[in-house]
Structure formats: structure tokens, C-alpha cells
Symmetry: C2
Subunit: 376 residues, 2 copies
């Protein structure tokens, strides 16, 4: 397809093809040519993929806005909805599963085909029947569990990994199916979904949601997504546990994250504590735990580097040996430095634990530990 043909099919705010297509980059994978939008532009979401040979589109997944206060945040965000659906926001890796050139592929947020996630999505979802029936839909899913190449949040009853479909979208428009239709469809095809916390009146949802969040927080789970019935309007809100865990992770690799990453999580804590912690002693206790999430992981990392160790993100993956090799090849394309920490066989599968080394953190901390100066 030429640019004009693509342009006519896409729901973009750009005035002419050149304005849009200058932002796409060309990548090859699996014998196909993908045009990928690496940032949200002109009304199209980041990770939008156009398949040259087949004319197929995989829409990007939109970023979900966030509120920092529940009341009046929920009400203000849904001024017109009669009711809103509250679902759990899972802490994993967001992928879009679409049939491309006849086979199901899993695309990362940035529009890459991850071979490992693709294989796991096929194993866990068996989506062939779904795509036979609905070739124009894509599945938006979260790969969760302790054994994924990208995240490692623990969930009870998930020993390795699992997948949860949280959205189903039309491939050309990118529009979601209505919440009820999507939940029905997932049940019909046997796709597991995130826990559902019911429908609520937006005017009174904040109080109901507060209870849901208290339970999620106690279980160290991430938070919730609230959606209008159409599925199109959605907003998220996260738990204290999630903020603290993310800060602990970020400060364990302090030079790997943008300053904004750290700041935004600290500010979330501020607004949530101001809204929810009425008791001064609870507030103080929360402040102390926040401090522990920041300082203890940072000191642990500095100590490790002082002892000559490397630091980074550790992940475990499992599968047949070729699949693991394909994953490592895929990760190395991003110029990551990988260290193999453990490589063993278990029940005929290869179980690999590897570290994505964090070079900025190692280098900066080494420099300061050697007496390097900060020029201010």
C-alpha cells in the first residue's frame, strides 16, 4: 500500500500523508515489513503498526490518564456516564495480540513483535478461534506473573506467568468494544480477565473505590482502571503499595530512570496520603515506609557496586530452548547488556534467569564511589 492509501484508512488528525508518515519507522520481522509509530502523533497512539505486505493495521494502545484524588477526580472525569465499570489494573507487561498475515503476534507498547510473548500468548490464549471469527479485532492483554522477560510482580496462584485480556479493540479505528460486550466475548472464548469490581454511579464511586483500593493495597496489587460503559473513556488510580514498590525499584537503579519517573510517584503519594490518611499516626507510618522504600534499596545498590557486583533488572523465563534463544536475540537488538545468572533444565524446559544490566547506575555510582565530584 502507498502512503495515500494508508492515510485514507487511518483515523488521523494529520492534514496530509507526509505530515504523519515522517514519524513512522520501518522495521522487519518474520519476513514482513512493519511501519511503526514510535510516539503518539496526529491522533494515532504510540505503537501503531502498519503491515506493508498485507495492509493490516495494529492500533497502538492509548496511554491511560490518571487522577491523583478520587473525590472529586472520579466525578469530574465522568461527568456524563450513568455508571462506570471498575476493574483491577494488573502489574505486568501490556501487549496487543493481533492476527497478522495469518498468525497471532504479540506487539509490545512500542510496536515490536516480542517472540517470547508471542509464543506465550499463543500457549495461554489459543486465540485461533477468536481470530477466525473476528479477524478485525485485536486483544489487549497483560502478561503477568514472576516469570516474564519484562516484569516480575508476584500474584498468588501464578507460579510462572499468565495472561489477562483487559480490552478488545477494532483494528482499523482502534476503538474498544463496550465493557460488557468485551467481558462476554472473553468469557465465550475462555480468555481470563482482570478482576471486576462492579458498576458504580460516578457521583458516589469514590467511596466504593476506596474500599476496593484498601484491599488491593493490602495485597500489594497495583490499582484500578475505571471505564465508561463504551470502554472509550477510562482513567486509572493506583495503590500506596504500587507507589512504594515502584520507588523501591527505581531507587535500586537510581540513574536508570528519568527524574520525572521518581517525582511523579512521590507526588502520587502526596495526594493520596492527603486524601486518605486522616489519622496523623497512620500518615507518619506511611511516610516512614516511603522513606524505607527510597533509602534502603539505594544503599543496597551502592553497597553492591562498592563490592564489585553489577546491578540491573533480574528476570526469569521458561520454555523450549529455541524460544529462549529467540528472546535473548530480541533483547540484544535493543543493545541491552545481559548477564546470565542461572540456566537450567526443568521438566524438559529451559529455565533462564538473566539480568538486564543497568549501565548508567553502575557507571555513575562507581564514579562517585571513586571520589568523583558533582559539579553544581
Amino acid at each position: 500500500m502507498d502512503d495515500q492509501e494508508w492515510f485514507d484508512r487511518l483515523e488521523t488528525a494529520a492534514d496530509e500523508p507526509g505530515e504523519l508518515f515522517e514519524h513512522f519507522e520501518t522495521r522487519s520481522a518474520r519476513g514482513l515489513t512493519f511501519q511503526v509509530l514510535s510516539d503518539a502523533r496526529h491522533g494515532l497512539d504510540r505503537g501503531t503498526v502498519l503491515v506493508e505486505e498485507t495492509g493490516e493495521v495494529v492500533p497502538g494502545y492509548p496511554s491511560i490518564p490518571r487522577i491523583l484524588v478520587l473525590d472529586p477526580g472520579v466525578r469530574s472525569f465522568f461527568p456524563d456516564a450513568e455508571r462506570i465499570a471498575v476493574e483491577e489494573k494488573l502489574n505486568g507487561f501490556n501487549v496487543r495480540v493481533a492476527r497478522v498475515d495469518g498468525e497471532a503476534l504479540a506487539f509490545t507498547r512500542g510496536g515490536y513483535v516480542c517472540p517470547y510473548t508471542t509464543a506465550r500468548a499463543r500457549d495461554l490464549l489459543s486465540p485461533a478461534a477468536f481470530f477466525d471469527d473476528s479477524p478485525d479485532l485485536i486483544l489487549c492483554a497483560e502478561l503477568i506473573g514472576p516469570e516474564t522477560p519484562y516484569t516480575s510482580h508476584d500474584y498468588p496462584d501464578i507460579e510462572s506467568d499468565a495472561i489477562r485480556v483487559f480490552d478488545v479493540r477494532e483494528r482499523h479505528s482502534g476503538d474498544p468494544l463496550p465493557v460488557e460486550r468485551r467481558r462476554e466475548l472473553c468469557r465465550e472464548y475462555g480468555f481470563e480477565q482482570p478482576p471486576f469490581f462492579g458498576w458504580h454511579d460516578p457521583a458516589t464511586a469514590a467511596a466504593a473505590v476506596e474500599d476496593v483500593l484498601a484491599d488491593l493495597d493490602a495485597d500489594e496489587r497495583e490499582g484500578i482502571v475505571m471505564k465508561a460503559p463504551s470502554g472509550a473513556r477510562m482513567v486509572k488510580y493506583t495503590t500506596r503499595a504500587q507507589h512504594h514498590n515502584e520507588l523501591a525499584f527505581a531507587f535500586s537503579l537510581p540513574y536508570e530512570h528519568g527524574r520525572d519517573f521518581l517525582f511523579s510517584r512521590l507526588v502520587r503519594e502526596g495526594f493520596q496520603a492527603a486524601e486518605l490518611e486522616d489519622d496523623p499516626e497512620r500518615l507518619r507510618q506511611r511516610a516512614r515506609e516511603l522513606g524505607e522504600s527510597i533509602l534502603l534499596p539505594m544503599v543496597e545498590t551502592i553497597d553492591a557496586i562498592a563490592d564489585g557486583e553489577t546491578v540491573g533488572e533480574d528476570h526469569t523465563v521458561r520454555g523450549d530452548p529455541e524460544r529462549i534463544d529467540a528472546l535473548l536475540d530480541h533483547l540484544r537488538e535493543f543493545s541491552l547488556t545481559l548477564e546470565i545468572l542461572e540456566d537450567r533444565r526443568e521438566d524438559g524446559e529451559r529455565v533462564l534467569t538473566f539480568r538486564k544490566v543497568s549501565p548508567s547506575t553502575v557507571d555513575r555510582i562507581d564514579y562517585y564511589l571513586d571520589g568523583g565530584v558533582v559539579d553544581e
Copy 2:
């Protein structure tokens, strides 16, 4: 003077006048024309001031590099010095006092003449005799105490404000006098100086300095500056109390500071805790206090804004009414929004407490409290 004449007199790394002078801006004050360098460039420090009418130079004060670990930081920073001077770093407002067109003026770090600080410097230093004897020297001093228009750190025995001369420099080269010469000269003219913690062998200074810092920390004081005998090479190191106080201040006005301001102070805590807190319980206690420094001031500010209050930096100044008016006029030149909190007479002086309102913090927090979303 024309640019070429200035250029020939300045010790700059620029190749030709235009390269340097494009970075200067012209300001008028007290009937004089000042060419001011607002950022460090071509070997000249930020705040360098050239006085058009008189041909006088006021060199900028260099930024002092910082080490994050004492051992081997101190040793590495002074590989050749036989001994280093350790002096207290005071928490106040850095000004350069120079005689310009016959009268002593106090220049801020950015090269502005502050009328209030100028008047206080004249009152507190009586520098006329010094400048009569040494017209080619400038005094680098810290205005400290609870009553200054810029800082408000408390020191025992300072009820209002005081000034401490921590450096004396040659006005054309910007070079400092040697530490011993400077301390002698200050004694001779009756200028008070920062506390002096002796001369130390750089190879063993880290341990000695650790004890000094423990005392300073217990008294909530800022830290130390270490200098080679010539005064030219210097490096700073700050206390836990200073990091926590600065974080508490910054998180009380979270949208007023760059993300780097917050991050740098958190990282200082990480390195210092890794080096100095050997006991896990002390480390945990420190982490908890860090968390309290972050969350409690932020929640207090959010609560205040929710209650319709403004927030900002509060300062108290004291003096004759014209002096206070001149200060307010000076501050308003920077487009600051000032709120008068208290305005009274005491012993014939005007005592004014005012707030520099922090508009970004008020606006952002208001927006989120009204249910505004964060687009991620």
C-alpha cells in the same frame, strides 16, 4: 570601556570579544550600567559584573564542587595538597561585597545589587577601611540568620541576621587569597568568619571530618568546605540534617523546584547513608526520617491549598521603612508575587514578614485537587 578593552583585562577562555559578550546582559542600578554574565561562560563565573562607567570588575563566585563520599573523595580531590583547611559551610545567602564607584555594594550570585543586603553588609561589616586599604579585593560573605529576605535558617545567638566572610578575592582575576592570609585579614578588620575546624592531612582527613560532621548534623547545620592552602581548590560536603531540611522545604513546594533539585538531594542521602550508617537499625531510622521529610510537608501543603490558603517561602526582614520599601521594589522586579503576612514597628524599625507566593505549586495542586488528570 569598549568590549575589546574589557576582553583584554578579563581572564577568559573565549577567543574573541563577541563570543564572550553575547552572553552578557545590561542592567542599570544606582545610576550605573552593569554588564552581567548570567551563566558561567568561557572561564568566567556566573554573576560576573562589569561596571561600564568606572571600568570596575566584580568577579562571579564559582560554584563549589561536591563529593558524595568522604573516603576516598577527600583524598582524590586533593592529590597534591600537603594539608587542607576545613571550615563550616553556612546556610545563608551568598553575596559579594565590592566597592563600586566609591561605595560598597552587595551583589547576589546572579549579579544583582540587592539594596537590603547592601545596607545590611554596610551595617554589619563597616567595610570602608578595608576597601580604602585594598580597593582591588572583594569580600565573599554569607548573610545568615532567621531574618533575611532569602533564607531563614536559625543559628544559635543570631536573633536577626549576621554576616560571615568566607572568602576574599582579587577583583580582576577572581583569584582567592590563601586561606591563612584571608583569615588573618578578616581578624584584622573585625570581619566575622565561619567556624574553622583546623588543618588536616588529606590522606586522613575523611575520619576527622566525619566527627566534625556528626556534631554539625546534631546541631542541624549545613556542612563543610575543604580548601587547599591557596584557597583556589575547594570542595563541599553536607550533613544529613541539611539534606532532610532541604527535601522538606522542596516537598513543601513540590512544583517550584526542578526535578534535579529533588533527585540530587535524595542521591546525597543514598551515598552518605551507604558510607556512614553501619548499623542497620540506624539506617532504617534514617530512612524513616527521610520519608517524613518528604511526605509530611507535601501533605501539609496539599491540605493548606485544599483549605484555600496560599503557600510559598516566608521571610522576615527588619530595618528603616525606606530600606524595606527598596527591598520590596527589588523583589517585585523579578515578577514575584508577594503577600504581606505581618507589618509592625519595633524599637523604631519596621519588621515585615512576607511570603514569596509559589504560583506553580498553588496552580498544579489546585488543578489536581479539582480532579485534574495526569496524562502519561
